[in-house]
């Protein structure tokens, strides 16, 4: 029997993304909304590239969306995923705005195009929670 796989890398928030990761810890999927044109944007960043307004607020979304693409990884590219393969990673277009597309692991069903999904908040430790997806009822 081989030893346990080494630990997976943890998220390393930057100064723009801290509220996103904080949201996941609190069970919410949060993105920025421009205070000028009200457009939602992803990933987090300093300025709205539609109206160039610097001010934005963080808003919680429904966490629901649709799979627009997916991949199934068979090859072990790093030892941390040795026991996970094959696994599915999906790109999800969020219900609130089609062009907000987030990547995450899919649990609970094989991936397919147009699969309806909802966010799952998977706690790794006190400091880190990851965004997974699961089929939505």
């Amino acid at each position: 029997m081989s030893a346990a796989a080494p630990p997976k890398p943890l998220p390393y928030p930057d100064r723009d993304s801290l509220p996103f990761w904080q949201g996941l810890r609190e069970g919410e999927l949060r993105v920025q909304r421009c205070l000028g044109c009200r457009a939602l944007r992803w990933p987090p960043r300093a300025v709205c590239n539609r109206c160039r307004r610097l001010e934005a607020e963080w808003v919680a979304l429904s966490g629901r969306g649709r799979v627009v693409s997916w991949v199934r990884t068979h090859q072990v590219f790093a030892p941390a995923w040795r026991d996970d393969v094959p696994f599915d990673v999906v790109t999800v277009a969020l219900d609130e705005q089609e062009d907000l597309q987030l990547i995450g692991r899919l649990d609970g069903a094989p991936a397919r195009g147009d699969l309806r999904v909802r966010a799952r908040f998977v706690r790794v430790d006190a400091e880190h929670t990851l965004l997974h997806w699961e089929p939505a009822p």
């Binding site: 990933p43 991949v71 090859q75 147009d114």
Partner: protein, 383 residues
């Protein structure tokens, strides 16, 4: 800039899985070979340009090694395959502006034995998006490009067999390339039987991580006429892009940064897709060939798969693509080896894989996945 700068020499090292030498050594070998090809002495080199992702040798180090006393112009671009053709275009600008008289563009890489793409053997490349991907085990190019390929399959009905047609065609071309690392012909059944790497990619969808180097010598066209080899002229060079495919301005990964840039490229060249005799299209994976056939205007959006499956991209077809076998079979030297093959074709030097009468070639870089940017060259046979 049209036709005012020429590629006067090309050079390679052996392409292998383990060079056993440093990237500095690889670069020196390729550059000396390219200078020999051009009939130009190393003393005359006064410009150096490269691109890299923290995995290669810097121009000033190389200048020291080659005994270049006055490096008048140099360029060290941080970037992967999407930057490969931009450095050639920028070198042409420097020459045309008189900032330099002899520029060598090079890429040296130990991409199999030292630093494999995607962070295997070293830390991940520091991109802002990495934090949203790596924790899910999504961090290597086969995954990132498979995500785009799957989107293309879902949206346009592209099939595994159409991806396979690219792999089979390029292997058939590699049979005629003595540098190619994979030269045994394969069938579509062989392709379909090869193991999954990242669905929808099988083993034969993926390029060969390679140790090796290539170099090109550039001079102004008027000087190139008097040199050893038939010059190949830089007809047009463009680069561009901006949105990464992980930001919400670019929600459809089935159209790349090359689609917008191609309009500028053809305009600058005064030529169009119908004028191209041979195309070397960036093929880190089979899929990027299909999407570029669309985005450079050889077929309509969504029809790259049927176009490749028709046989049009094979030697003898209406648009031979990746006549050296591409990164899939020759090896992955991150972009510039496509330019070298285009030069061979336009000189009429390509032996059994020669496209008869080739006068115009398109050579392209990574079309904009991950990086958001791309670059390309239109080359023309010189006088």
């Amino acid at each position: 800039m049209r036709d005012r700068v020429a590629i006067a020499g090309i050079g390679w090292t052996e392409l292998s899985k383990n060079s056993g030498v440093s990237t500095l050594t690889l670069a020196c070998r390729a550059i000396l070979a390219a200078l020999e090809d051009a009939g130009i002495g190393a003393d005359e080199v006064d410009g150096l340009a490269t691109h890299r992702v923290g995995d290669s040798v810097l121009p000033p180090v190389l200048a020291h090694s080659l005994g270049i006393r006055d490096l008048r112009w140099h360029l060290d671009t941080f970037g992967g395959g999407s930057a490969s053709h931009a450095i050639v275009g920028q070198a042409a600008l420097a020459l045309d502006a008189g900032l330099s008289d002899t520029v060598v563009c090079y890429r040296a890489i130990n991409a199999r034995s030292e630093f494999r793409m995607g962070g295997i053997g070293r830390p991940l490349v520091d991109a802002v998006e990495t934090q949203y991907q790596a924790p899910y085990g999504y961090f290597v190019p086969p995954q990132q490009f498979a995500m785009a390929a799957r989107a293309h399959m879902l949206r346009w009905g592209t099939t595994h067999e159409q991806l396979g047609a690219v792999a089979v065609a390029q292997r058939a071309h590699a049979v005629h390339n003595e540098r190619a690392q994979q030269r045994r012909p394969i069938t579509l059944d062989d392709y379909l039987a090869s193991r999954w790497v990242v669905e929808p990619f099988r083993l034969f969808d993926c390029c060969l991580e390679t140790d090796g180097a290539v170099a090109l010598v550039l001079v102004r066209a008027d000087r190139a006429r008097d040199l050893r080899r038939r010059p190949v002229l830089i007809r047009a060079a463009t680069w561009g892009g901006g949105f990464t495919l992980y930001s919400n301005e670019q929600p459809d990964p089935t159209t790349t940064a090359a689609a917008a840039m191609a309009k500028r490229l053809w305009s600058q060249a005064g030529l169009g897709p119908a004028d191209v005799d041979v195309a070397e299209l960036y093929d880190c994976f089979t899929y990027t060939v299909l999407v570029q056939l669309e985005d450079y205007g050889f077929c309509k959006k969504g029809e790259g798969g049927p176009y490749a499956a028709s046989g049009a991209t094979r030697l003898g077809g209406s648009l031979p693509v990746n006549t050296h076998g591409g990164f899939l079979c020759e090896g992955y030297v991150h972009g510039l080896n496509h330019v070298c093959e285009a030069v061979s074709q336009l000189r009429g030097d390509a032996g059994a894989r020669q496209v008869e009468g080739a006068e115009v070639a398109l050579s392209t870089s990574q079309p904009g996945y991950v990086s958001g940017t791309t670059s390309a060259l239109v080359l023309r046979r010189g006088p």
